[in-house]
Symmetry: D2
Subunit: 340 residues, 4 copies
């Protein structure tokens, strides 16, 4: 079956996902787009062989021409669009975050549970990165014994002017929050944020941060979040176990010897580093929902939990101290974790 897709929000990441989905696996096509900027929607639609620009996301979701929805609009609009897609019974891929508060995520969760079937996938792309998968495979395969500690670093060369203090957690560290749950197969039970000496490059931001997460089995995780580190974009992770450790290797494909050094290039940003993981994520999603299956990736439950943990970490950042994470029982609809 050919999957006809509508995309709400056609900024940079929306356009990249369109490139992945139009003429993609199973003959998926983008047949409709919508954007708060109507002109941009028209321009993007005009470059696609089969797409119309519609006036609103709501109209797009309601359109009979649309089989499945991709939400890549501004974060605060995610909740209404995802709720509308669930109400319409259409599969919906929503970029992270699922919604901007635990309560909003909870409303989506409740709606999906009420609908009785899984329709929502959240765009936590790191689960699709081959290196992170190799990391998980080594841990799961017992190469290092039981995991005890995890060391992470999440580094951006710089952030745009609109980037706020809270975004170091809610927009940046949220990737580690989802990754850790997936990598270790346990829940985060507490968060504590430490504020080291501030970088002079970060203006008003509290940059960097050191975040500690406690997992339900006692595994302790430290995450460096540096968002103005200039040299490049880098994601680091090492899991220390009882008998060894496993860590992400530098991803540079070649080593260059010049001017007194042997060097590997560092990616400039997350697009360069994670393009392949987005490719796999979107193609797998399109192929699976085209075949009538439930979305194969991170669920609304995963989106909800990430937001609850992010909220706890934000409280620690703002008020200090260790903040516990309280989760409701996992609804039966999400009893079986998603494959990815």
């Amino acid at each position: 079956m050919t999957l006809d897709i509508g995309v709400i929000g056609v900024g940079m990441i929306g356009q990249e996902h369109i490139r992945r989905l139009d003429g993609g696996p199973g003959g998926s096509r983008v047949v409709a787009v919508a954007d708060a900027d109507a002109e941009r929607a028209a321009t993007v639609a005009g470059q696609l062989p089969a797409a119309k620009a519609l006036s609103t996301g709501e109209e797009l979701i309601a359109s009979d021409a649309v089989d499945a929805v991709v939400v890549t609009s501004w974060g605060p609009t995610h909740e209404p669009y995802v709720l509308a897609a669930v109400a319409a019974g259409k599969p919906v891929f929503c970029e992270k975050p699922l919604a901007t508060s635990p309560e909003a995520c909870r409303r989506i969760l409740d709606a999906e549970v009420a609908a009785g079937r899984r329709l929502v996938q959240v765009g936590f792309n790191r689960r699709y990165d081959p290196a992170h998968r190799a990391l998980k495979q080594a841990v799961d395969g017992g190469a290092i014994g039981a995991p005890l500690l995890v060391h992470c670093a999440h580094r951006n060369a710089s952030v745009p002017p609109h980037y706020t203090r809270d975004m170091s957690i809610a927009d940046t560290a949220i990737h580690e929050i989802d990754e850790l749950r997936w990598l270790l197969g346990t829940e985060i039970v507490a968060a504590q944020v430490f504020t080291p000496r501030k970088s002079s490059r970060g203006g008003e931001l509290q940059d960097p941060l050191l975040v500690l997460f406690e997992m339900s089995d006692g595994v302790l995780v430290d995450v460096e979040v540096s968002v103005n580190i200039h040299y490049g974009y880098e994601i680091r992770c090492e899991v220390t176990g009882e008998t060894g450790s496993v860590q992400l290797a530098d991803p540079a494909p070649v080593h260059i010897r010049r001017e007194g050094a042997v060097a590997g290039l560092v990616p400039a940003d997350w697009r360069e580093r994670f393009t392949l993981s987005y490719d796999v994520e979107l193609r797998e999603w399109a192929a699976t929902v085209a075949a009538g299956g439930p979305p194969p990736g991170p669920s609304a439950w995963d989106g909800y939990v990430a937001q609850v943990v992010s909220d706890a970490a934000l409280r620690s950042l703002n008020d200090g101290g260790r903040v516990g994470v309280e989760l409701p029982p996992r609804p039966g609809l999400y009893a079986i974790p998603t494959a990815s």
Copy 2:
């Protein structure tokens, strides 16, 4: 436009390419298969949504249902199938080698030149490997000054029983032959094969080999060919220039600390190492020919030259000494090198 593809030869690599092409970019589909083993053809066709098994490759090429042809059959059959596809005016992707002798390749070249347009692409996948592309980008960008020497190694953990002495060149080193022409943008003008101490693991084979290639501008290349090296599959390349060097990095995505060592896993074979490059190669081919363009990758000329150089290296292996490579003028049809 949807591209309807016929695949001749559905052994392992044929089946892998089918997975890449059916339901692939631009709505490409596999609509017909043929194989010397009719039962295998039927089985493979039965697993595809839209494919029929046809009796012969010739019938497949002639079928009105087939827009483009993929040849992944046994090497000696490549020539007649590719000639038939050219005669039928259909784009044809042929796994390497284009044909098993310079003369056979020449006949294909002549047929294509007579047809007046490029229809043939040869499956030299290494041009599509991201690490090799980064290598070329560094050289072309001037990071190391003018290239002077190249050091390569092509290592297989083991080879199947039917692997013969000549295959170290014709089947294995042929990848380096094409890669060097593409990487350096010059032609190979001589080959010389040295036979070091034989591995006790190689039976009757002359394994390993050390092959020297001279490029038209004097750049000298040494290639280690080891086809029974047990530890794994590995492709190495370093280009030494006037002011520095660039080399492929180890591709291991993670480093594991255990049992007294910090280790990166080595791929078991070429499928594991180069899957992504095949994905890109086949998708780019399908998308381009679906859009009516000439095949974007290695041309019949590239396939022909590789065979001429391979032949020279084989003469050196068998008779000793330095063997010069004589090439006819490049036909105008191939005046502009292919993009990849």
Copy 3:
């Protein structure tokens, strides 16, 4: 001048230091040894060209034949031996710790200040490791901008049966305590110890630990202490600054490709990893004091401060929470930090 040295405590590390000092730089010789085990002292002396075994450390320190003293006996005996050497006006090299409590260290400090000249050097060997020196050189040279965060790991394959809970701090992390002060040029103002999931390999030990240190300028340091990690001995350190980072490279001198992996061997223990740093440390000490200079390495002040910080970390381990570090003013005798 030839330096005639007496060594108190000739267990393993004492014997290694004797090997470094006898017939060493400037014609240094070991002329006397003492040990709680008189038979061991006699055996060791018998293997040296110019050494006598004396009955007690006190006798050795008092001997006119002895120009300088090395203390490599059991920790609790360090204080009286070092005090006696200071009283005798003889240079004394004391293995870490200087003494086993802040108060004991303070008494040594006071004695040295009263004596009015520096005689004591403490065996913090990490300052002499070429890799740690390269780390400091990069930080001091501004390669990464102002330092903001430090990530360390101190891993032992295993520990002997007598190793106790407190030793993870007082015996193991104490190396990081001195290293951080030296590396960053600032003081530690607080310590906090976290206890992750316990390794099943550590028996009653709380293993691993995650220790946070705050430096006086706000730099934050996390230290993993794992003392039963089986795979080998490893010291890791990365300093994250405003514009980049610098970290210790894996010290393996060769990479071996075998059995599906490319691997570097990990040292089995600290002797293997740090032999060269001990060589430099002891030779520099002997050459300098032979020439009449003050001991060139870590001073009694450094030994005292390390013990104060260690004590704070132990209180955090035992009672929880963040524990501040209070230091008295630095006596004028130690106004100029030691060169190493």
Copy 4:
């Protein structure tokens, strides 16, 4: 016993060796120096506690005050000084080359054989490099099966103006010549030099070279010699065996992340890269001959063989083609290879 040493030739390397030997192991002292530049000899002697400047090397060798001789003068003077030391029955450490022709080396060999005991050690320092020792240990320990191929590179950032065409072999590749014999435990039976495209940075020099060496058991070695490669000084070596390979790791002690790259610094020259190996070489030599033993390192036989092979390689460079190496029987005096 204290070893009193005379040093002939006190240019840069002579002065460095003096630093290693004066006040060194076993109380070795430098008691006499001589140099073609009398003023330089006087200056150097004046900086040493116990040394006199003598007028000639011959006088130095004859002096009763001198127990052992170090020859670090200009290559063409090595032969007479070494012959004089042998005639005087004094141990002599001679920097490579032992002498500048096979015939000259042969005369030394004959003199030493006639004297009936080994007195000569040649300064092939690479045997003392910890990384090269780890390489040999892996090969000898069977980690990679029987060796079959070796890939080397010898790279200098630049060479001084007096560096001539022949020196790429006689001064530079001679290190690999000795290293290969030591590493593999076999003799070189043929050499062949290839001249790739010339570097525009090398003026009249034929730079780089690719040298092939055949070992007596068929192992084949390729050596890149690049002496103007600008980026730094680097020595590479990989041994490929039947089941794996072992290679020198990059020696950078730290990795620095800055300006878009993760980089390890490359040594500027051989002094920086091999200081430690020279330390070990000279100290071991002084300690051993002080104790009355034969010189522990590379013998006159090793110096002679290196010169014979170098000569063969030079003939190939100048006349082309493969040049066989003919060696006389190894005299009984050298029946047991030296330990290092």
